[in-house]
Amino acid sequence: MRDMSEDPSRSDPALVAAYRSGDEAAATELVTRHAGALGRYLYGLGAYSADLDDLIQETFIRAFRALDSWRGEASFRSWLFRIAANLRKDQYRKEGGRVAVPIEDHDLADASDPEGEAGASEMERRLREGIGRLPRMQREVFLLRAQQGMDYVDICAALGTTPGAARVHYHHAVKRLKELMQ
């Protein structure tokens, strides 16, 4: 998961460098490469299906405007996930204030999202509901590990934690989700 491309000239760092030199096609390639994973991650964090396009856009806008702060220590994707999680957190606060809103409220199908959450399988619905009840770090570590298949090095880079702490968060998340799903 460290690099999404086998061709070094098309690796994320190479594309970032190309974009910074004015190559817009490089930006397009970065967006198309990571948009789907970002969308799934944001969905796992409780975003409405109908909001995914906008959230992904905003994530990339923030990322491209702050490329100077990406030094390549973490993978570009894990850096995007970090931005996306912060964005989703901001959106969540705007939606429900600082009082936690159970994620099952988000899962209710409505007219604005006829085929999104309503089409989710029962297992997916319950899983999403369970994930929404986890503490933030457990939720994000679980999604990065189980949904995205990231290794702990990238998870730590995305969340600013240590591998040991990330492992603990993951195991607590699994334990809690198993209890909730039984």
């Binding site: 930006a27 992904i56 856009q57 491209f64 959106q91 089409g119 997916e124 590990r145 298949g149 198993k178």
Partner: protein, 171 residues
Amino acid sequence: MTDPHIDSDRMPLLAHAGGKWTPVETAHLAGCAECRLEWELVQAASALGRAAASRIDPNRVAARVLHRLTEAPRRSSGFAVRPARWALALAAAAAIVLAFRIAGSHSPVRVAPSPARPGILHELDELTASELEAIFDAIPPAAANETHVESAPFGELDTNDLERVLRSLEG
């Protein structure tokens, strides 16, 4: 069930890399409801959001991102965060701080008009939040003899005083 449970860390690897269970693990899974539940959980998580993400058109997203970056590189029409309102408040606060520094007066409500700096608030409005923060950072701490912020904090200014300060900055 005496054999140990399957290592939790192996499950995401198998779910994503498409590996295979060892015969021992397979036998364990067949008899351990707890490990089966965890495996179902990880498999469900690895598929979570696929349907929602399949409705995203990455090329359309890329086109919009590039459009926004090229058309308005310094403005954020943020979907989730719209800094305009608090940036305006920040700009007003910055203007007041600047007013105290520029005026160098002994009274914060007797700031002389500064026609040389017309429309400063409008210029500040054009800045992004991070740029405004940078401006704040760049302002050195005021010396005691330059301002009376300490002796007359903003909270002691009434609405008329504040309006006068702002008017003086806008010319």
